[in-house]
Amino acid sequence: MSAFTTNGIDTKVKNASAFCFQDINKNYQSRDGLNVSALSNINFEVFKKEFVTVVGPSGCGKSTLLKILAGIVNASSGRIEINGMPQKGPSSEIGVVFQNPVLLPWRTILNNVLIPAEIQKRDIKESRKKAYELLDMVGLKGFETKYPKELSGGMQQRVGIARALINDPSILLMDEPFGALDAMTRELMNMELLRLKKRIGATIMLVTHSIPEAIFLGDRVIIMSPRPGCVEEIMDIDLPYEKELSIINSEHFGVYDRHIRNAFNSKAGLD
């Protein structure tokens, strides 16, 4: 269990706070002029090097929550702290992986990975070196001069991950990154993500609607419910640190899975 103490979080001694949501609300005007609450009183804290997953049915505001943290969307009220500092808009501390990888078709794979470095005006030589390393790390060595349309969906998403990591962010946000992939590729990507996590040491928040994915990847699972989007429950996941895909079939995994499903079902019954 040496990997546990050096790379993972120790469940007894928590690390410092990576970011936290304090009373976050998000309202928007619907088309017929009604005030709709998308997020209501979101409060939770995520610690450094932790991997949290946010799971919930569509419409529970989980993607909105991620976008608020990324500074793409403004909250209606509440505050966010990132590394102990109040959040004001997008931050170079954060790398984002989008559901649709959102690569720019006129740029090569290498130049897509370099976008955040160019925006931040980092040293271009250093960044290129880093981009080559990252592409190697996500298994895309040799694809540097290709264009996005020449790559499969799974490969494009790997580029998205490399791009999010180019500026060494301390926080990595992933918005349903594997939602558009087929089940097999998705499981493969989950395994690779865990391996990647050990190498990069960033705090990760991943939003998904897949319950098994949330349990498999997360140290903690934030369970959200819709209308209005709020945190239903936060569940600690106690699975071996060195996970294998077969863990999904274990009894322990099944308990978590049923627990989350019940949380959703009881909520749905109230509707």
Binding site: S91, S92, V96, I115
Partner: protein, 262 residues
């Protein structure tokens, strides 16, 4: 429209169709004994074309028309791109300027061409200005649409990575607008020839439009046909050059053909 691939079967098919059209033309004229004052036979047109080329007469007038076309196109395109860039970025400018632009566009340029000739004379200047006004609008409209149509997710991605408005323009909005801009330029270059000819019709001392009027007055219909062929060739040539430039510049886009507007 056309694919630039050089397929042998395609080529044979096109060549045979061309010969077929010329043959139909020839036999129709001969069969109904149509006067060359009404509709000349292909052989006569080709002869006139040959004569015009070797005598150097076409060269002079083509040079004038081409100069007016290209200068007018360049000026109209540059103004449209700058204005389109500003309007595309600054919303309030659209509200202020667009009514005037649309009102100006609604005026038939043929109707205001005599004014330009009155103001700027019978030389090339008036033709260049007429051409520029005709070319202006499709390029402007396409530039604005292109700059505005960058996908929301790309904008969000750039925002998340802390892009400034200028970086957003330079790295996403402008490259995204390029296929639209080239569609506008392609429409513009073909319209530019029309602009130059319209200007020459109103009053000129040289140019292919001037030459057409001359031939028409002297009842040389064969000569008119020959010049029309020259004009077509110029149009095809300029359009092809534009396509090649577009293909090189927007190598990533497969849909530039679908973006043609108007």
């Amino acid at each position: 429209m056309k694919k630039m691939t050089f397929n042998k079967r395609d080529f044979m098919l096109r060549a045979s169709f061309f010969i077929f059209v010329i043959a139909i033309w020839h036999f129709t004229v001969k069969m109904f004994d149509i006067s060359s004052l009404v509709f000349p036979a292909p052989a006569g047109v080709i002869a006139a074309l040959y004569k015009g080329i070797v005598s150097g007469e076409y060269l002079l007038h083509t040079g004038v028309t081409l100069y007016e076309t290209l200068m007018g196109f360049a000026i109209g395109a540059i103004i449209a791109l700058i204005l389109g860039g500003l309007i595309g970025q600054i919303r309030i400018l659209e509200k202020i300027l667009y009514p005037y632009i649309v009102a100006f566009q609604a005026m038939p340029k043929v109707a205001i061409a005599p004014l330009f000739v009155a103001w700027f004379g019978f030389g090339v200047t008036s033709k260049i200005i007429i051409t520029a006004t005709i070319v202006f609008f499709p390029i402007l409209a396409n530039t604005i649409v292109g700059l505005r149509s960058a996908p929301r997710e790309q904008i969000e991605m750039m925002t998340a990575f802390t892009a400034s408005p200028w970086q957003m323009f330079q790295m996403v909005r402008f490259p995204h607008a390029l296929p639209y801009i080239f569609a506008g330029l392609d429409i513009g270059i073909v319209l530019a020839i029309i602009g130059a000819i319209v200007g020459e019709f109103v009053g000129a001392q040289a140019g292919l439009g001037y030459l057409i009027l001359q031939r028409n007055f002297s009842m040389d219909i064969t000569g008119v046909f020959a010049i029309l062929i020259v004009l077509s060739a110029i149009g095809i040539g300029l359009h092809t050059i534009m396509k090649i430039i577009a293909k090189r510049t927007i190598y990533w886009s497969e849909t530039s053909e679908d973006l043609r507007q108007q």
